[in-house]
């Protein structure tokens, strides 16, 4: 479903991605872990082209995003992204946050978009918050709306960049629960996370990144119980 081949990315003199290769199958949930600054966010952002890679390829569902002929807006519709800081649209209500993209991009009528949005908001456990503005929601609620907003475009792939890092501890669970359900429904997911519990329980595969490369990857069991690489070992000894 997602293929990343030999991806390089620098910001000025700083080389952040140094040849990333990874293939993610349909319905697979891949968790990406690694120390701060290792390039995890940059990798995700390259996957949906918020960041333009210097070289290498990103292919999603057979479409090469890195080719100049590709209509990137079209592809992004199929790649949902959830941000650490939610990035909800503060001038719109919860419901409008979810219906906005289908109405504007897919030219869906308001009623139909509303039906889909209600269904999604129910799914993330927020069916009673339609007319509330994001400022009145808790962090956990915001992030669940953000997930519903991304799902409203019916993406084939979901990218999560530390979706629970900005949350108070008591709200982490509700967001992870929603993500877990999504995984069980068969969504293809790339999740950058510090929640090792989630990676263990929900992830099919764990990638450990450090200094712009994928140092080690394998099943959660393998990575958490028997890391081979010394950098993985020292990282895990700090966070576990």
């Amino acid at each position: 479903m997602i293929k990343v081949e030999n991806l390089y990315k620098s910001f000025g003199p700083l080389q952040v991605l140094k040849g990333i290769d990874c293939h993610i199958a349909a319905r697979e949930v891949v968790c990406i872990i690694g120390p701060s600054g290792s390039g995890k966010s940059t990798l995700l952002r390259c996957v949906n082209q918020l960041e333009k890679a210097d070289s290498g390829k990103v292919i999603i569902d057979g479409v090469e995003l890195t080719s100049p002929q590709t209509d990137i807006n079209k592809v992004r519709q199929q790649v949902g992204m959830v941000f650490q800081h939610f990035n909800l649209f503060p001038h719109r209500t919860t419901l409008e946050n979810v219906t906005m993209a289908p109405i504007i991009i897919k030219k869906m009528n308001k009623a139909e978009a509303g039906d889909i949005a209600h269904e999604l908001l129910r799914k993330v456990g927020l069916s009673d918050k339609d007319d509330v503005h994001p400022a009145q929601l808790s962090g956990g609620q915001k992030q669940r709306v953000a997930i519903a907003r991304a799902l409203a475009m019916q993406p084939k792939v979901m990218l999560f960049d530390e979706p629970t890092s900005a949350l108070d501890p008591e709200m982490v669970g509700e967001v992870l629960e929603v993500m877990k359900n999504l995984a069980q429904e068969g969504m293809t997911m790339m999740v950058v996370t510090h929640e090792m519990g989630f990676a263990k329980e929900v992830g099919h595969r764990v990638l450990f990144m450090d200094e712009g490369i994928i140092v080690e990857q394998g099943s959660p069991r393998q990575i958490f119980e028997n890391p081979v690489n010394s950098r993985t070992q020292s990282f895990l000894s700090k966070v576990l």
Binding site: K74, V75, A101
Partner: protein, 236 residues
Amino acid sequence: MLQCLDLNIFGLDILQSLLALNGFQVVSSNMGNFLRGTVLTLEITALSVAFGMVLGLIAALLKMSRYKLVALPGSIYIDFFRGTPLFVQILLFYFGILPLVFDANSFQAAVIVCSLNSGAYIAEIVRAGIQAVDRGQMEAARSLGMTNVQAMWHVILPQAYKIVIPPMVNEFIALLKDTSLVAIIGAEELTHQGRILYSVTYEAAWIWGAVALIYLLLTRLLSMLGDYLERRLATE
């Protein structure tokens, strides 16, 4: 009438001597001219700010483009109109450029030059407003598949306008005062009415005092409107 009621009260004495003054009579008997001038001043200002908003928005978006060839015309326009005196712009356009394009009367010329001028200032206001919106907003919009234009229109600008309104009101006030410069090309706004009246009566203090007072009244009203808008937006 007042003479009959002369009770030798100090205040009435003043009133009486006021009424007898030539300057006062000039001003009070020509209220119609001042009023017409005021209306025209407001018209030129309002039209120029309205056109200026459109021009300013376009210029701001051009200047913010990633493509140099698109950004350059925006920058040149903004730099030119902010970097030269409005007075010179009025002369240049009325006598130099507009005659090459069409036969503009002084009112049209005034609106065109003031629009171009305020557009340049508004462009910088809009640009600052857009840049004050969190980067994550654009990223979220783009990640959903919106085009740059869709994201601007539906996500960024609706958030930028709150930031933009207070400086926009200041620009409105500044332009209202600056329109006095178009008197030089004979647009019959407030300052021009003052000049005409002065040339036949020579009551400088009274006439220019009255003109100044009207400008002050207008700018005070505008800034009160601005304060009101700001308070409304703050509670929203």
